[in-house]
């Protein structure tokens, strides 16, 4: 797990400023002497006292970095982004990185209030974008991650093999009987899932005249467990899922093609009859952090990689039981060119 840093090696001025912030996460040592020590060390700047123990492999750059608080949203792909960026920021830039665990919306709130510096994988969120970037101007866009977010309906690979035409939505009604469950009331079941994502599934089922019922799974865990069981026991399953997702490196789910997405075909949520748009995932920073001059700002803006890159790191975390930091280190060591490009 992440360990909170003992001292915030910010400048003393930063400390004072942070004190006046409403919800700054401050870890002021109780004992006055220790506090003075912390401020003293902080004033020296860039002193990376958090790395004691190891001999410090950092080739710290010239500019001082200070604290970097990367929000961690609760899915593994995100954890990969966060820890690879965090690992590079820590080892190459000498930042003191912390990873507050938050849900998406709470992360945006945190950037607005100043308790979080950056979100490193954002899925759309038009409403929040409007509120925080356009209206409040407390959050700024930090460029694309290079990952393509794909949302859609998936079946386990054994089904795609046995019923090759199932991947066309027009044949779904033909197979509706296969997908009947105790929950679907005589129709085929479409398992929906993660409460964090907006889905059009109920509208899609109606508008495409499918003989299916949307059943709420309720969590990512529910979706993955269902797919895992379906593939292992060769039971039918049709469910909402998304890529990039580490689970793809375990079971290669097959996407069902809905009517092709065209610009604006999802404008009215009630009349949607087309596939989900491809999401270009992006990064965000709090305005305050973006203006802070920290070298990590450049790193976050330049960070880009592919879905395969991310799934590789996620797979190490999820299936090989590696800690996020170990997985990040392994990937960074194996991909020096990509990392160098972020730091240029």
């Amino acid at each position: 797990m992440t360990r909170a840093p003992h001292h915030d090696p910010r400048t003393a001025a930063d400390e004072r400023e942070a004190l006046s912030m409403p919800r700054g996460i401050l870890r002021l040592p109780l004992v006055a002497g220790a506090a003075a020590l912390a401020l003293g060390l902080a004033a020296c700047g860039g002193g990376n006292i958090d790395q004691s123990g190891s001999s410090g492999s950092g080739t710290a750059g010239g500019a001082k970095c200070g604290a970097l608080r990367i929000a961690v949203n609760p899915w593994t792909g995100y954890v990969s982004n966060a820890h690879v960026i965090g690992y590079v920021a820590k080892t190459k830039l000498g930042c003191t990185v912390t990873y507050p665990d938050v849900k998406e919306e709470v992360g945006w709130q945190g950037m607005a209030s100043g308790s979080i510096d950056t979100i490193v994988e954002n899925w759309g969120h038009a409403d929040l974008t409007k509120k925080y970037i356009d209206e409040q101007k407390t959050v700024v866009d930090a460029g694309l991650t290079g990952n393509q977010g794909i949302i859609g309906w998936y079946v386990p690979p054994w089904m795609a093999e046995k019923y090759p035409d199932i991947t066309d939505w027009q044949n779904l009604n033909k197979y509706a009987d296969l997908f009947k469950t105790s929950e679907s009331g005589g129709k085929g079941q479409l398992l929906d899932g993660d409460p964090s994502y907006v889905t059009n599934d109920e509208a899609l089922v109606t508008n495409l005249k499918l003989n299916y019922k949307v059943v709420t799974g309720g969590s990512e865990a529910a979706l993955i467990t269902s797919f895992r069981q379906a593939e292992k026991n060769k039971t039918p399953l049709l469910a909402y899922f998304y890529d990039p997702q580490w689970f793809f490196s375990e079971v290669k789910l097959v996407k069902v093609n809905l009517p092709k997405y065209t610009e604006g075909c999802d404008a009215d949520p009630k009349k949607v009859a087309c596939d989900y748009p491809p999401y270009a995932l992006n990064k965000l920073m709090s305005k305050k952090f973006a203006d802070s001059g920290s070298p990590a700002v450049g790193l976050i803006q330049k960070f880009q990689w592919t879905n395969d890159d991310q799934n590789a790191v996620s797979e190490m975390i999820a299936n090989q039981n590696m800690t996020p930091d170990d997985a990040a280190k392994k990937w960074v060591d194996e991909n020096p060119d990509k990392v160098a490009a972020w730091l240029s």
Binding site: M1, T2, A4, P5, H6, H7, M21, P22, R23, I25, L26, R27, L28, P29, L30, A34, D50, S52, G53, P74, T76, V79, P100, D101, V102, K103, E105, V106, Q109, G110, A112, S115, I116, H125, D127, K131, T181, S182, E183, L191, P195, S196, T199, E202, V214, V215, T216, G217, G218, S219, A221, A222, L223, T225, R228, Q229, N233, P269, A318, N321
Partner: protein, 706 residues
């Protein structure tokens, strides 16, 4: 607290406006209920599917949007409003920096800067020995070492820190409040409903608002914990003060003491043991929030649990969950031992009973196993007694090595950061990695062996019980169901619960989530039925056989304390994402409390009665069905009531494993900005549902329970 809930009557005697003279049950009630049932089924057959008030998943009502608007306003104001920024902001920063500071000195210590793990351990041992005696010291040492070996040192201590800070705040707020409530009926009448809401409202529902006010981090985690942990302390304090014998108080009064003197010198000392029980329960409740707290970046063992859930690593989640269970046992036993020590000799208040039949969860007084609690005090009492001076000398002497240990832990890295033991034979088996692998293997084996059976069982229960019941309760005009509930409330409990029912129905209707509330109600009822079936079987077995009790009880305790997130994944693998899985999760959580209450009830049947019955030569089955169960009726009613409320409190978790309806809406509202208002409304609907069911059950219990 092993206050065996010996006959639960004290429970009913708490002065929570329990109907004093319950009208005798009418002989016609059964017939009238039957009439209601027939009318209901007829209405369902005729009006099926009309005016059900079903609301599509993404749709919202005006109220939901209004909640959203308030949220937005608070967010905008948050930066410079005097209250949000000035008051709450200051409280939040103060808490955050305080916890941060404690962490820096105890759990996340920079080597060489402050005492390391060895120092913390040495000082904790000394403190426990001073306060609670040798046995507790051994326990504390074992638990802390386990946390270290399993790689949970920092998170474990963080959990301890957050819990203790929350408990201290609870005591500062809760004791005066409890005292005020015991002295003034009006205060009690005002505060009690607030406590009800605090305990019944699912924590997910207020997670986002609290995060909005206090920012994410330790402060938010502590406030969340407070909301949940404060009520038991206040209730038990009030109960304790109220149950100081009337004649004692009278005697005091006749001596002409003032009210304050009476409180300080008579009531408080006499209620001391009960209040300590309250603190103990408060601690356990605080600990049960560890996982939820992690969702708002609260430090502690909840973090590894949530992280493991993301990768569906049951083993890793279990290891962290085990850490929480062990900390619960450690705190429970140590505080109990400490309180028994400090209690003046001879003054041993035995069972306190349940602190009120009501209250979301009565946070069982009897949460932990006998072996974990009871004999500690006895052990210390049997020891040779030292004079106070001699005792101080001894404690001072053993403080020395602790201080030396603390000093060395600032000097050596091995004593500062808990060493990695994965290379050491034997010990490496309980480091996080191998231990979680073992658990994963075991879970896989069980899941593989059982999937076929469990699926059949699931389909059977769903088609025979769940689907018909759900159809009858939700697929009909809302007003029919509202009338049915009202009629049942009136027939079972009289006009008081009927009035509460009307109010709660109005609230549910107002939230715009009537249909979802009825689906949730169905699942709650089915789960409660299953809970009672299991609880009666297990409870009778435990009540009749001491050995059975000793074997089963630790499992019950484990299920009660381990975070539900831990068994979510295996439950999903066994039953898929269905309403049934949600019901099973609730059953797993509610069975322990119900079973314990039944067991205590059966054990509480007077031995003379049992003996007399036996002399008539009845069979064992007759003994159970004709004597023990009927005599334990009150316990059964109490168990049903508690089972029901426990089930209801798992609705949110159920929403995450296929339960849908209100639980899902709450989770969704928590993660999706535009559905925040709907989630909040769902939280309110659950609270209303809980209060309604509780009142009906409580008044029915008062009528039929004796």
């Amino acid at each position: 607290m092993t206050t065996t809930l010996a006959p639960p009557p004290p429970a009913a005697s708490t002065k929570e406006e329990q109907p004093r003279s319950a009208p005798a049950p009418s002989r016609h009630t059964g017939r009238k209920l039957l009439v209601v049932l027939v009318l209901w089924l007829v209405a369902w057959a005729v009006l099926r599917g009309k005016q059900t008030l079903a609301l599509a998943n993404a749709d919202t009502t005006g109220l939901h949007e209004w909640f959203n608007g308030i949220r937005d306003k608070v967010q905008l104001l948050g930066q410079d409003n005097w209250f949000f920024h000035g008051v709450l902001g200051t409280v939040a920063s103060a808490l955050d920096s305080f916890v941060g500071a404690v962490q820096a000195h105890v759990s996340t210590v920079v080597p060489g800067d402050w005492v390391g793990w060895f120092g913390v351990l040495a000082l904790a041992m000394w403190l426990t020995y001073t306060l609670a005696g040798l046995r507790s010291t051994v326990l504390v040492t074992a638990v802390l070492l386990f946390l270290g070996v399993a790689g949970l040192w920092t998170d474990g201590l963080d959990t301890l820190i957050v819990t203790l800070v929350a408990v201290v705040i609870c005591i500062v707020i809760g004791l005066p409040l409890g005292i005020a409530m015991s002295r003034s009926r009006r205060t009690s009448a005002i505060v009690t409903p607030a406590l009800d809401v605090m305990q019944t409202m699912p924590s997910f529902a207020y997670l986002t608002p609290i995060a909005l006010f206090f920012g994410i981090g330790p402060a938010c985690a502590i406030v969340l914990t407070l909301i949940y942990a404060l009520p038991p302390l206040v209730r038990i304090t009030e109960h304790g003060l109220n149950s100081v014998a009337e004649n004692t108080v009278e005697a005091g009064r006749s001596l002409g003491v003032t009210k304050g003197q009476l409180l300080r010198q008579v009531q408080l000392p006499m209620a001391k043991r009960t209040i300590v029980v309250g603190i103990n329960q408060c601690t356990m409740a605080a600990l049960s929030m560890a996982t939820i707290a992690a969702l708002v970046n609260g430090p502690g063992l909840g973090k590894p649990v949530i992280a493991a859930l993301q990768t569906l690593n049951v083993g890793a989640a279990s290891v962290a969950g085990l850490g929480i269970v062990l900390i619960a046992i450690m705190l429970d036993r140590t505080t109990t031992a400490a309180s028994e020590r400090s209690a003046p000799g001879g003054q041993r208040v035995a069972a306190v009973g349940s602190p009120g039949v009501f209250g979301g969860r009565t946070l069982v007084l009897e949460k932990l196993p006998r072996w974990a609690t009871e004999d500690t005090g006895r052990g210390s009492a049997a020891r040779m007694r030292l004079t106070p001076g001699g005792r101080r000398l001894v404690l001072g002497l053993i403080l020395l090595p602790a201080l030396v240990g603390a000093f060395y832990s600032t000097r050596y890295l091995q004593l500062s950061q808990f060493p990695d033991l994965s290379g050491v034979p034997v010990l490496n088996e309980i480091t996080a990695g191998p231990l979680s692998t073992h658990i994963n293997d075991l879970t896989d084996a069980v899941v593989n062996a059982l999937t076929g059976v469990t699926n059949g069982f699931k389909n059977f229960v769903t088609s025979v019980m769940l689907n018909p019941l759900q159809s009858v309760m939700s697929d009909l005009p809302w007003w029919v169901m509202a009338l049915v509930l009202l009629a049942v409330a009136y027939l079972l409990g009289g006009w008081r619960p009927a009035a509460v029912t009307v109010a709660c129905e109005a609230v549910i209707l107002g939230t715009g989530l009537w249909y979802d509330a009825m689906v949730t109600l169905t699942m709650t009822l089915v789960a409660t039925i299953i809970v009672m079936l299991v609880a009666v079987v297990l409870g009778v077995a435990m009540g009749r056989g001491r050995r059975t009790d000793t074997v089963i009880r630790p499992f019950l305790d484990g299920f009660q304390t381990i975070p539900a997130f831990v068994y979510l994944v295996p439950a999903l693998a066994l039953f898929a994402a269905t309403r049934f899985t949600a019901i099973m999760a609730a059953v797993a959580y509610a069975v322990p409390i119900a079973t314990k209450l039944v067991a205590d009830g059966v054990r509480g049947v007077a031995p003379t009665t049992v003996e007399a019955a036996r002399s008539t030569g009845i069979t064992r089955w007759q003994m159970i069905s004709k004597v023990q169960l009927p005599m334990a009726r009150e316990a059964l009613v109490l168990a049903t009531n508690q089972g029901l409320l426990y089930v209801l409190s798992m609705v949110v978790i159920g929403g995450m494993v296929g339960g849908g309806s209100l639980g899902y809406l709450i989770v969704q509202g928590f993660v999706q900005g535009q559905l925040f208002g709907k989630g909040l409304a769902a939280g309110i609907a659950i609270t209303a549902l809980g209060i309604m069911l509780d009142r009906i059950a409580r008044y029915a219990a008062a009528r039929y329970g004796r």
